[in-house]
Symmetry: C2
Subunit: 344 residues, 2 copies
DNA sequence: TATTGAGGGTCTATTACTGTCCCCAATGTA
DNA sequence: TACATTGGGGACAGTAATAGACCCTCAATA
């Protein structure tokens, strides 16, 4: 039995303390300089409570309070770094990963502690984790495909800007979606390519267009070229979404959406809608990767977090069992809960 | 930085929690079955507080509450065992030992966490620690001398009853003192000998007798024999006392006592009174080990705990720098405080 | 210069904690 | 058998700690 086990036994409330302090310290670190009130809004803790905690952390020399706001000291920074692993162990993330691997019957799972719905930094962690993983598996002359969404945007952001391999090509795996440039696959692919000091291609095709336009578009040389590259992709990184919210975001006709949901669609990835067993229910009309290509890619990485993504993750995990799923603790626990309930 | 360091930084109040829980759990373990009120008296914590803590420990499965009192479960027992080391590290006992070695300029120090004045179990710990140490250094045909006092009694009590060496002889190092049979050197020597499955000799001479009687007594064959053995002693284990309280206990004339204190006597060991530099101020008239013999013994172990023993320990530590001092945290910290103040 | 966002101070309501006592069950003893 | 002792659980009131709300002043910035 190590210290963590003992403490869990004899003083479980330690975790709550560590949790809240870690959260505060980390949030200050990533937002410094920040004031009490700003922090209070950000992490949903009363201003007064933050003040008490901050006073303790200040007394311990982990942060400095100045007139412009609060800063984390060098020591505080070190504590944060060390706490990352501790929190993982504390929450039993390793065990959780093993259980989830078994439950979903897939080979690779990485879980990040926390709940990305409730804590913005957890999304950041997922991005960081994914980027670390990516850097590890990347090789010379690789073609990397990436989709859109806030999660993918975070990943590109968290990739450290230095070369890890030669002649990397990043392409968007799917046509664009949404108005926000920042979260479109094109901009994300470009950003990622720049970070990796590689090149990139763009896919200027709107999502969910009618069939005629689509066919016309496919004849354009630029587009054609990218489409062909998609089949040669080595790594695909994609976000996993809920079927309902994605249908909403793509402004599918209400009728179509309803029919799809009735057929059991719960998850969405690269424009495809799946039921919980991974059956392809519907595909939105756009250019980009299709299921056949998906199944022939060497390395696929699906990323999503938050309780509400649990079913979507289950759906996608059913497609291929050599996928790498990167998710957060909240989603992981929810999935296990769902499966436990079903097998009761 | 390991977990303990991190926790010390970010959540120092963890220690207080661990401390109180450990204390409660341990006290229940050594006194089980025991009730709330009994425990409350023993460790000086309000009944209600104990109740709250006990409820938590119960919930965690570390103890069971029955109609006859509380019991520690198997798991609780395991937690106690593991916590011992953790508490040591938590309190920085290893560093404290190093500092004390330097400050007292002696070679061997063992410190037990806590304050034996305030917590009865700490005395027990000192006894246990000393007995473990003794068992480690003991060899065949050794002659072990031991003095009287409650601390020595605890040591004999804590020695596990099994043979560690052949032909061990235990002798009292000094004449008897006090009315309580249990804490007299004779009974302690006998007890220790039985535990070690060795033999023992007794020294039936009262402490602090007049010179004439003493000389007469020394001619008795039985006594003579033991006295001679004292010079051949391999290990001496002795308690360290305060000069004033020991003078009191030996019922020295008020005048004599006063003079002694004025001369700077602060510590007492095996009937000798020392000032803080280790100068022999006074020797109570009785048979038993003298300073010359003391200096020629191979292994000497002095044991004492509690803040008020600090000066006495300092005095005795000045005698020989190859002594092994076994003490508690309270005394250790007090000594360092005294020295720090003096060198300011 | 006006405004915004920062920390610090302080009062109050509320919550949690703790000391105290009572009750009853089980156990051991006269 | 009756009684005293010691055990746990329940309940309540007083107190201490905590959290919320609002104020102030100060400094940076537009």
């Amino acid at each position: 039995m190590d210290l963590i086990e003992i403490e869990k036994k004899i003083a479980p409330e330690i975790f709550d303390i560590l949790d809240i302090r870690y959260n505060i310290l980390r949030n200050i670190y990533y937002n410094q300089p920040i004031g009490r009130r700003g922090l209070s809004n950000k992490i949903n803790i009363g201003e007064r409570t933050i003040r008490t905690e901050v006073n303790i952390l200040k007394k311990q020399g982990l942060l400095n309070v100045e007139s412009v706001g609060m800063y984390v000291t060098e020591e505080g920074k070190r504590v944060i770094e060390n706490l990352e692993d501790i929190i993982r162990e504390l929450r039993g993330i390793s065990e959780l990963e093993k259980r989830l691997k078994r439950v979903l019957n897939i080979e690779n799972i990485i879980i990040v502690p926390g709940n990305s719905d409730k804590n913005g930094l957890v999304l950041k962690d997922m991005g960081k984790t994914t980027s670390m993983y990516l850097r590890k598996i990347i090789q010379d002359n690789f073609i990397i495909g990436i989709t859109g969404g806030t999660t993918m945007a975070k990943i590109a952001e968290e990739v450290p800007a230095n070369k890890v391999a030669d002649n990397i090509l990043v392409i968007p795996a799917r046509g664009g979606l949404g108005k926000d440039v920042e979260t479109q696959s094109n901009s994300i692919a470009a950003k990622l390519a720049k970070k990796l000091q590689g090149s990139y291609k763009l896919l200027h095709v709107p999502d969910n267009i009618d069939r005629e336009t689509l066919e016309a578009v496919l004849k354009i040389t630029d587009i054609k070229e990218v489409i062909e590259l998609i089949d040669k992709m080595n790594i695909l990184i994609f976000g996993i979404g809920r079927a309902d919210t994605m249908a909403e975001r793509r402004q599918l006709p209400e009728k179509q959406k309803k029919r799809m949901i009735e057929k059991g669609a719960v998850g969405e990835a690269f424009g495809h809608y799946f039921d919980i067993e991974g059956n392809d229910i519907y595909e939105s009309l756009t250019v980009g990767i299709n299921l056949k290509a998906y199944n022939s890619i060497d390395t696929i990485i699906g990323v999503a977090g938050g309780e509400n993504k649990s079913e979507a993750i289950m759906a996608v995990a059913s497609l291929r069992n050599d996928i790498t799923i990167i998710t957060d603790e909240a989603a992981a626990r929810k999935i296990i809960k769902i499966v436990d309930k079903a097998t009761e």
